[in-house]
């Protein structure tokens, strides 16, 4: 399998803190990849660097054959990388449907930029697609509600839904199961699996080990900003370096010690 997303020797420092050091990561096309590591190991920074929220100090980011190093967030999204945030970020004073339509800007703009800028937001095709996605994630009944009225878990689902509006080739999920009740975790995992079967690639940062090990084909462990080991879940689970850096200190594999 070819790598859809690839970071090659990416480094990023904040002052004297090296958040990422020569970090190389491959995400195979059509796979669900996991990214684990202790707190502060650089997982979210890696997401920020890939999606253009932070600039790299050195190294390269590739999406398929296209180099996207230091591209702006809107360009990265347009190129086909969708992303959710660890703490959910939705447009709280817009309705759920309006949130979906915001994410369809790129798709709607496809008709040429002489299109009437005052055209009504969200054409019928966009609304239908948004309705289907909300149906898929199970929050369709909230379409008319303001996003601020959603629960935390529902916001996570909304984030996943609107990222899908642009039909991204790969979706980066930052702790999709964090702070979410067990039933909803199962729902989220099912939805990820379904989307993956339809061809969407995933890269998931998550601390819930059952979630990661049950879902991912390939798991990469990040420690001190470097990818120390990468492999299938069963290999990772027993790798001594991983046990040492990460899992070994956890009682039941569910919790992460602060390193």
């Amino acid at each position: 399998m070819t790598a859809l997303l690839r970071t090659a020797g990416v480094s990023k420092a904040f002052g004297g803190v090296h958040a990422l050091q020569d970090c190389t990561l491959d995400v195979a096309e059509g796979s669900i990849a996991g990214l684990i590591g202790p707190n502060g190991s650089g997982k979210t920074t890696l997401f920020n660097v890939i999606t253009g929220y932070e600039r790299v100090d050195s190294g390269e980011v590739w999406l398929g054959g296209q180099q996207i190093t230091n591209h702006a967030p809107d360009k990265v999204f347009a190129a086909g990388i969708g992303r959710t945030f660890q703490l959910t970020r939705v447009f709280s004073r817009l309705t759920v449907m309006e949130n979906m339509i915001v994410a369809a800007q790129h798709a709607e703009r496809g008709h040429g930029w002489l299109r009437n800028p005052l055209a009504r937001a969200g054409g019928p095709a966009t609304r239908r697609r948004a309705g289907e996605l909300l149906e898929f994630t199970g929050i369709a009944s909230h379409a008319g509600a303001l996003a601020e009225t959603l629960s935390y878990g529902q916001r996570k689902l909304l984030e996943l839904s609107y990222v899908l509006m642009a039909d991204p080739a790969i979706v980066l999920l930052d702790e999709p199961a964090g702070g979410v009740n067990p039933t909803l975790i199962t729902t989220i995992a099912d939805r990820i699996r379904q989307l993956n079967e339809q061809g969407t690639t995933f890269l998931i940062v998550e601390h819930n080990m059952d979630f990661v090990m049950g879902l991912c084909h390939q798991v990469t462990v990040l420690d001190y900003g470097t990818a120390v080991v990468s492999g299938p879940p069963e290999v990772i689970r027993s790798d001594p370096r991983v046990l040492d850096a990460y899992l070994g200190t956890a009682e039941d594999g569910d919790d992460i010690p602060v390193s």
Binding site: T51, G52, Y53, A72, P73, D74, V76, F77, A78, R83, F85, R89, V90, F91, S92, R93, L94, T95, M97, E98, I101, V102, A103, Q105, H106, E108, P117, L118, A119, R120, A121, G122, A143, G144, A145, L146, E148, T149, Y162, V163, M165, A166
Partner: protein, 364 residues
């Protein structure tokens, strides 16, 4: 004056929409016949100034209310508009009613200035943005004082129009009304457009919007330029009416504060709120100015009023009023249906969350 967007209208919604439409129509008719009914020049003068502020605050809200970037530098456009028509009138010797055709040029010049202004100021956010707009404003005021063609501290005087004294104010009033209504219609269109949704998304979370493909700088700048252009036209109209532009009256920091206060009073970011704020505040200010001639009593009274508004209606008249209406409606519905089930006419989903205490309020 605002309308629901996403949810298909329930019967109650439709009734509310009809009521709003009817109310808007009545207001428009009153505005259209006002100078025909009221002929006292004192009151028509108030009306012209009120219309000028309605247009200015609607233009301001189109950018600041929708994007959440609070500009205290719109007097730059107001003054630029005034000076533009002033210099052009002098240079081209324009007289009579044709002067109003210069207003689009005032808008154009203000728009041209809004581009570099926006490109600089819109790189920063929130408080920093506010400070930068104030700083740029003072640069423009200084230029009005010191550039060779601005007339320095003498300013520029407008020609005297040979119009009948009885109806002298009317042309200004109607031009103001046209600009105001046009701006409100444009705001409504923008609110329901793709472009408007992008602006609101920027207000809620700019970085997230960017990550969803919204070209934020372009969107912000477009709104800033449109808003600035309209403010420039309003400034031009003001100069024709007042008859003189001085650096400190055309580039007046009080203009910025007044416009922002009107918007906050009525409901920042809503469509009807800022207009309502201007309709209340400007006549009140004029009335206070002629009633309390000693100068400070009136200002103290206005200050007290503001404190009261902040205490009672922190989010502005329209959002708070709408919330109250919703809760009364719900209470009434509950009383009618003791089983607890809401009747079909009641709104299924409250548009505004009561838990939201954000001072910037909701969009509607």
């Amino acid at each position: 004056m605002s309308a629901p967007t996403a949810a298909p209208p329930a019967t109650g919604d439709r009734r509310a929409r009809l009521a709003r439409l009817g109310g808007t129509a009545i207001l428009l008719v009153i505005a259209a016949i006002f100078p025909l009914v009221v002929s006292d020049a004192l009151y028509t003068q108030f009306a012209v100034l009120t219309m000028i502020y309605v247009a200015a605050v609607a233009a301001w809200n189109l950018f600041s209310g929708y994007s959440g970037y609070i500009s205290l530098g719109h007097a730059v456009f107001f003054g630029t508009g005034a000076y533009t028509v002033g210099l052009l009138t002098e240079h081209w010797k324009v007289i009579g009613g044709t002067i109003f055709w210069l207003l689009p040029l005032a808008g154009l010049v203000s728009a041209v200035i809004a581009v570099p202004f926006g490109l600089i100021a819109l790189r920063v956010r929130r408080h920093t943005f506010v400070v930068i707009t104030i700083a740029i404003f003072f640069i423009f005021q200084l230029m009005a004082f010191n550039l060779s063609f601005t007339g320095g501290n003498q300013g520029i005087s407008s020609p005297f129009f040979l119009w009948s004294a009885d109806t002298y104010n009317n042309p200004f009033y109607y031009v103001g009304l046209i600009i105001a209504v046009g701006t409100i219609i444009l705001s409504w269109l923008i609110r329901h457009s793709r472009f408007g949704l992008q602006l609101l998304a920027i207000r809620d979370d700019e970085d997230r919007a960017r990550g969803l493909g919204v070209r934020t700088m372009r969107v912000k700048l477009t709104a800033f330029v449109i808003s600035g252009a309209i403010t420039g036209m309003v400034g031009g109209l003001w100069w024709f009416f007042i008859g003189q532009a001085l650096p400190e009256t055309a580039f007046n920091p009080v203009f910025d504060v007044t416009v922002a206060l009107m918007a906050f009073l009525g409901g920042f970011g809503t469509l009807a709120g800022p207009v309502l704020g201007a309709l209340i505040l400007e006549p009140l200010q004029q009335w206070v100015a002629i009633t309390f001639t000693n100068g400070y009593t009136g200002e103290i009274a206005l200050g007290v009023l503001f404190l009261l508004v902040i205490l009672v209606l922190p989010r502005g008249i329209v959002p708070t009023g709408r919330e109250l209406a919703t809760s009364w409606q719900a209470r009434w519905a509950r009383r009618r249906a003791p089983g607890g089930a809401a009747p079909p006419g009641s709104p299924a989903v409250p548009r505004t969350s009561p838990s939201s205490t954000s001072p910037t309020g909701s969009t509607r």
